[in-house]
Amino acid sequence: MKILKLPKQQLDYFASVLQQFGEVHAPVKRQGKYVFARLDRWSDAVLEYNRTILPPKKYLLPPRETMFCYRRGTGYAPASENLDRKIVLFGVHSCDIYGINILDEVFAGKYPDPYYRTRRDNLTIIGIDCTPDEHCFCRSMRADFVDHGFDLFLYDIGDYYLTFVGTARGDDMVLASKTLFEPVTREDIDEYKRRSEAKRRAFQLDVEIRDLPEIFEMEYHADIWEELGKRCLSCGSCSMVCPTCYCYDVVDEVELGSRDGRRVRCWDSCLFSSHALVAGGENFRESRASRIKFRFYHKQRGFVAEYGRPSCIGCGRCIEACPVKIDIVEVLKMLRGAEDGATA
């Protein structure tokens, strides 16, 4: 991989170069939290942040998107609202890039989704490294480093960013910046290693995911699910903020006073009671306990069977978002610890 370094004091100049590749979006501070948003000026960007409220999936799977317009007589026609918008997303953490890679597998792999793919093609990703806080467990989920999925990735090494060039588009951005980037020295590499080791030691959470699928199978009937079901409010916040929760609902909306309308898809959650409801009233996950169990099961066990790894990336967003403090790390530890969960 092509590796260069970018002087930190030239970052705003580099950001101005990026504008020719699309609208520049980056984390900005809003009411004490961070969100990915379009920048009015480069100084709004916050590059040292813990996590944004919503993950980058909002750029690829918008919370609400029109798929088709339909007219009486002509039928359904594909909609393409905002599909051609080119966006450069600056400052994405490795866990979130991992999340995008997982979405790529689902939406750009078998049976590709044309809306997703067009948006993905139009999204440029510049990653940045980070320091874990008390909710981060990406290291346990093997998402603390990524080797693909970004166009550029920046590692802070003091006065410079060590820059990994991941794609040809990333290389174009480097070339468009002319002489901004410098070659890497031995000292830079040593500094990178020193910081990498410091990051490893900074993690406060650790959970073992080896043989987690087997443990999920064995604990399928454990009491812990009933207990979680009593606490869970089925609000779906964890799904909304999850970088890899991609369930969606599709509805036809009719224009007022007309028989024409649009087919819209919007975010959904397996915690909502209608998620597995079929015609005639049969609901395969009627109880709240069965739904929260399903969410954990699909992420930590189901996804492993289908894609070879859990779809959880350890970003900690669901821990922060849950109004009743259901903590995925605690749940996984309880399942693993047996005493708390295996009495059934």
Binding site: P78, A276, H298
Partner: protein, 290 residues
């Protein structure tokens, strides 16, 4: 995943939108059973119609403009192309709107989706079809596929049970099979208020006492409400069927049909792409399956 990225770059604009419903005209509505009509459709786009090939057991996503989409199994066999027959139960808003439509109205179809019955795998075996109630709808496609490829199968047996003769789907058509020699067609009703039913009366599992089934050389395809699964599976296992030669068709909520929207997932499988046909072995090992 690196490969996916290259695919993305090389294939910038996916040619076909897999979610696009294709216009289909209602040719005929056959009021088979109250709240269970058979809708015959013809795809309007010649190119799409010619490309449409399905396997028995597959389903389509049916669009009723303004109401959305629902997965409906295809009741017609691939051996009789030209039209699609969908047996639709009136159960909600979308199907309610469909029931208000008539000949020449236009709906949307996309598909076919799902794995379908593994017909190549069954080739050369005896085939036992067991349907209860509305379970005949997805099995009818397989039934006619097998009869139209009669030389590919050994014995074919159909066991079908409904509550009353008036609840029996495809009643006249199935009655006409009873006297055929290339199929053993056993029809039963729980009770006969008409007094004119000429076939069996009694519960579906009772039909197992009226015929011989060799579990070592037979594939069984079962479809029906949960109670049918419970009692029929019991009989099949008691006969000595191995669990991966019992096939069943499942029903789930679906919004996409292509393994994305998440609604039809059971355990770690998506009913839309890994199913809707599962072996009993798969079904018993996936939580919430039946």
């Amino acid at each position: 995943m690196a490969q996916l990225l290259e695919e993305r770059v090389s294939d910038q604009l996916p040619a076909l939108n897999p979610y696009l419903p294709h216009a289909a005209r209602l040719v005929r509505v056959d009021r088979m059973v109250p709240d269970n009509h058979l809708f015959t459709l013809r795809l309007l786009d010649d190119y799409y119609a010619a490309a449409f090939r399905h396997r028995p057991g597959q389903f389509v996503m049916l669009s009723v403009p303004g109401c959305g989409e629902a997965p409906i199994s295809i009741s017609s066999p691939p051996t009789r192309p030209g039209v699609l027959e969908l047996c639709v139960r009136r159960a909600g808003r979308l199907t309610g709107a469909l029931y208000r439509m008539g000949a020449n109205d236009v709906v949307g179809i996309r598909g076919p989706y799902g794995n379908g019955f593994p017909v190549e795998r069954i080739e050369g075996w005896n085939l036992l079809l067991v349907a209860g109630g509305l379970g005949m709808a997805p099995l009818r496609s397989l039934l006619w596929y097998a009869l139209d490829h009669r030389e590919q199968f050994k014995g074919i047996t159909l066991m079908y049970g409904a509550r009353t003769p008036g609840d029996m789907l495809f009643r006249d058509e199935l009655k006409s099979l009873v006297d055929r020699r290339d199929i053993s067609c056993l029809l039963t009703v729980d009770r006969d208020p008409t007094g004119s039913w000429e076939h069996h009366v009694g519960l579906l599992p009772g039909l197992f006492d009226r015929t011989q089934v060799d579990p070592a050389t037979t594939f069984a395809a079962v479809c029906g409400p949960p109670i049918v699964y419970r009692f029929v599976l019991e009989r099949l296992l008691a006969l000595g069927f191995t669990k991966d030669r019992i096939l069943m068709s499942l029903e789930r909520r679906m919004k996409c049909g292509v393994g994305k929207c998440g609604h039809c997932s059971v355990g770690y499988k998506y009913t839309c792409i890994h199913g809707p046909i599962f072996t009993y072995w798969d079904a018993m090992n996936l939580p919430e399956m039946i």
